[in-house]
């Protein structure tokens, strides 16, 4: 009846409750019910939904741009050795550049606005997409490409039926890893220079040393991201690889 996952979650909440009881002060570690009550109040007064709307829209735009741009560049680099030779040092630098540096520079150069915020996330995230899709493109089956050429398939049919299905596992991997990284970067971006969003709220509660507020926003956000993963990304991935297991 009860899955191990549920037991594990209940165990976590129980441990949290016990820890809050033995903690030196309730303000240092509030019990679960206090955090839940806080979430309820913030929902009713509208602060929490507003912050989440701002953050999620940033995550969505940055994620879409990083995936699209990173996939296109990664595909080009995987197809052409010449493009890859030129691109590779840039990718290596971008991969090793601390995210914080990217964020700060974007704010300094572009200004404290949403364009800078989203761009910083894209620059921080896209290189991993480039690397993943580049590997996928290199692994494309030349025999299938030859078959498509021999039958003179249109560009669209080659892309849709020959290339994309082979790239899907790589795109899915880049997408799943990408979403969790994107939202973490967005929070830092907001914490450093936006007047709204979950990152801003976390900063505010940190200034006030309000652990209840930090836990309320942080855990709700993690919960929503898990929900997005379970209800959107995982089913998409399952559908894309249905032909592998369908007997």
């Amino acid at each position: 009846m009860f899955s191990p996952r549920l037991f594990s979650l209940i165990g976590f909440i129980a441990l949290w409750w016990i820890a809050s009881q033995v903690a030196a002060s309730r303000t240092l570690l509030p019990p679960p019910q206090a955090v839940l009550a806080f979430v309820g109040r913030e929902c009713i007064n509208g602060d929490l939904p507003r912050a989440f709307a701002a953050t999620l829209s940033r995550v969505a735009v940055a994620f879409a741009l990083a995936m699209t741009g990173g996939s296109l560049v990664g595909y080009a680099a995987g197809r052409s050795a010449r493009i890859n030779v030129w691109l590779d040092p840039w990718v290596v630098i971008a991969l090793n550049l601390p995210v914080l540096v990217v964020i700060v520079l974007a704010y300094v150069w572009i200004g404290l606005n949403d364009v800078a915020a989203v761009l910083a996330v894209v620059v921080a995230k896209a290189p991993t997409v480039v690397v993943t899709v580049r590997e996928g493109t290199r692994a494309l089956d030349p025999g299938l490409a030859e078959m498509a050429a021999a039958f003179r398939l249109s560009r669209w049919r080659r892309l849709r039926f020959v290339v994309l299905p082979q790239l899907l596992p790589y795109l899915a991997a880049a997408g799943r890893g990408g979403l969790s990284i994107t939202w973490k970067i967005v929070l830092v971006v907001e914490l450093l220079g936006r007047p709204n969003g979950v990152g801003y709220a976390l900063n505010l509660y940190f200034q006030n040393f309000d652990v209840t507020g930090i836990l309320a926003y942080g855990l709700t956000f993690a919960g929503i991201m898990l929900l997005v993963e379970a209800t959107i990304l995982q089913p998409l991935e399952r559908r894309a690889s249905a032909w592998r297991s369908d007997v």
């Binding site: 025999g143 299938l144 030859e146 078959m147 050429a149 021999a150 039958f151 003179r152 398939l153 249109s154 049919r157 039926f161 020959v162 299905p165 032909w243 369908d246 007997v247």
Partner: protein, 248 residues
């Protein structure tokens, strides 16, 4: 229909050494002709077919293909694993082509119940038959087959040979097939192009008289076997195709 002239084809190895693999190979393909491209394994039959299909343009020479609809069967089935057999067949058919009867095509290659199956649910023999059906799905005016009957049992090979022969006869399509099996080629082809080397050159262009009887074919087989040592492994009767079963 197709004109091919290969003056020279060079393979460059990974250590940058160059090796001439094909030299002075030229032939034309006329409608309704069934050409067997013969030669020992590894001589360059597949490379010649790839050049003919426009898949390899790194050679000295010229290929003129025109707009003839071309159906291709590679040595490996090369079906898309994420599409069913029927979807694999439909994929290669464009709006400008006559619409094929997929079920009838699958019947023809003896795969009547495979339309909804995925390639990984097929045996290699079944997948190769599906690949032949796909080649026929484009209503080809030229059918290019690379070792089409390898890894099939003798009975099935005969069935498919019969399918190919009937297609050429009924539609006037030209067929080019690469094979290393002389007996098989003699039963199917109207013309034999024999590659010898290396580097591979066109060593002989032998017409097979239409409707030639078994005795004529045996004589031709003996003559070619004595001329080209690499055929001696398969004598008529031991290799080649058994007579095709009558359609049921």
């Amino acid at each position: 229909m197709f004109d091919l002239r290969i003056d020279r084809k060079v393979f460059v190895a990974t250590n940058h050494t160059q090796r001439v693999v094909l030299r002075d190979i030229a032939f034309s393909i006329a409608p309704a002709e069934v050409i067997a491209l013969l030669g020992p394994s590894g001589i360059g039959k597949s490379t010649t077919l790839r050049i003919l299909l426009g898949l390899d343009d790194a050679f000295d020479g010229q290929v003129r293909r025109g707009a003839a609809r071309t159906g291709v069967m590679f040595q490996e089935p090369r079906l898309l694993p994420w599409l069913t057999v029927a979807e694999n067949l439909s994929l290669v058919v464009t709006d400008r082509m006559p619409k094929p009867d997929i079920a009838a095509l699958l019947d023809r290659v003896r795969l009547p119940n495979a339309a909804g199956l995925y390639p990984r649910q097929l045996s290699l023999g079944m997948a190769r038959r599906a690949a032949l059906a796909r080649a026929l799905a484009v209503s080809p005016q030229v059918l290019v087959l690379d070792e089409p009957f390898a890894s099939l049992d003798a009975h099935l090979a005969a069935v498919l040979a019969d399918v190919v022969q009937r297609w050429a006869h009924d539609t006037g399509a030209a067929v080019v097939l690469a094979t290393h099996d002389l007996a098989q080629a003699l039963q199917l082809a109207s013309r034999l192009l024999i590659l010898a080397g290396p580097p591979a050159t066109l060593a002989a262009d032998v017409p097979v008289p239409a409707g030639s009887d078994a005795a004529t074919r045996t004589a031709l087989h003996a003559k070619l076997t004595s001329q080209f040592g690499f055929f001696s492994s398969g004598a008529p009767g031991t290799g080649g195709l058994p007579s095709a079963p009558s359609p049921d």
